[in-house]
């Protein structure tokens, strides 16, 4: 049996460890999770190849253990997509953060 504490193993490589009981509850995808998935699929669509599966996997393995463990599944997918798109120069981190603040503001105003 493989040594599950082997320091050479990546933090994503968890087969054989024991993360405890499985929670069988299945939740619906939230609308933003569907949208994030749709954006990533659209960018990876045949003929586009702006963001493909292997890049998404590599980003997850590169984001670092604290972030990987801290984020849930769709947060991790979104973080991975962001990492690759910034890396490709489609937009910068600063641009993105600035836009996120603006959107937060717009949404707060819409909530009243």
């Amino acid at each position: 049996m493989a040594d599950t504490d082997d320091p050479r193993r990546g933090y994503h490589d968890i087969g054989g460890k024991d993360y405890g009981p499985i929670d069988p509850e299945v939740t619906e995808m939230k609308p933003w999770e569907r949208q994030s998935t749709a954006i990533s699929n659209a960018l990876g669509a045949a003929g586009r190849h702006l963001y493909v599966t292997d890049e998404s996997r590599r980003a997850r393995e590169q984001m670092g253990e604290p972030l990987y463990n801290d984020l849930d599944y769709y947060e991790r997918s979104t973080e991975s997509m962001k990492m690759i798109l910034v890396e490709k120069g489609l937009f910068s981190d600063e641009e993105l953060e600035e836009r996120m603040s603006k959107i937060a503001q717009r949404m707060a105003e819409a909530r009243g």
Binding site: G15, D23, M29, I39, T53, L85, A110
Partner: protein, 214 residues
């Protein structure tokens, strides 16, 4: 989900048509990031509203799984089942399912073998057939444990596998996906494909449960 129909004016990319449930309180960081990525990609011409709408529709339609009909067809058409086992991608293409670039390996449960699918490294899943993976499939608990104590994990799903039966756990990859053909239960002789499809659930095609004739 707010729906956008008809012509979509690019000047309206900043509106909140995609933003549902604003009553639900403040959006999280990754929700905001998703909307910001969408806006920036559209403004810079990397993504059109049409492309996004089509992709959204596809994600939504994936939730209504094609898998059950495929299994029902495999149960009633031995030649089709053989083609699925020989070359999953090609057999799925026959019935109009694009399984994508990853290889789709189809495995069959028998009286002696129970197959179970996992992705220990991430959450690779046969999305083209089963939609998005359920929470437990993505959980660290399932990913870590099913490869060392599959019988115990299966029993937690209410599936008890007899000791004289082999449990085969298949670990997926970005380039290799698995789909399980469950065992057709006794008492389903003469059933139509529709009747059969109704007893094939997602969990039975991942291999953590088995269909029953009730």
């Amino acid at each position: 989900m707010a729906e956008e129909r008809g012509t979509h004016d690019h000047d309206h990319d900043h509106d909140l048509t995609f933003q549902p449930n604003i009553e639900d309180g403040e959006p999280g960081r990754y929700e905001l990031m998703t909307y910001a990525i969408r806006e920036l990609l559209m403004e810079k011409g990397h993504l059109t509203p049409e492309e996004l709408r089509a992709a959204q529709e596809k994600v939504e339609s994936l939730q209504k799984s094609d898998g059950a009909m495929i299994i029902a067809k495999a149960w009633t058409d031995p030649d089709f089942k053989q083609r699925l086992l020989d070359d999953g991608n090609a057999a799925l293409a026959e019935v109009g399912v694009d399984a994508g670039a990853a290889k789709m390996t189809v495995v069959e449960n028998t009286d002696d073998v129970q197959n179970v699918v996992v992705c220990t490294l991430c959450s690779c899943y046969p999305r083209a057939v089963l939609g998005m993976p359920p929470d437990w499939y993505r959980s660290k608990s399932y990913r870590s444990r099913v490869v060392i104590e599959p019988r115990k994990v299966l029993s937690e799903f209410g599936t008890d596998v007899p000791d004289d039966m082999t449990v085969r756990v298949h670990d997926s990859l970005a380039d290799l996906r698995y789909l399980v053909i469950p065992r057709r239960p006794e008492g389903t002789e003469g059933w139509s494909e529709e009747q059969l499809a109704a007893i094939v659930t997602r969990d039975t095609m991942v291999g953590v449960a088995n269909p029953t004739a009730s």
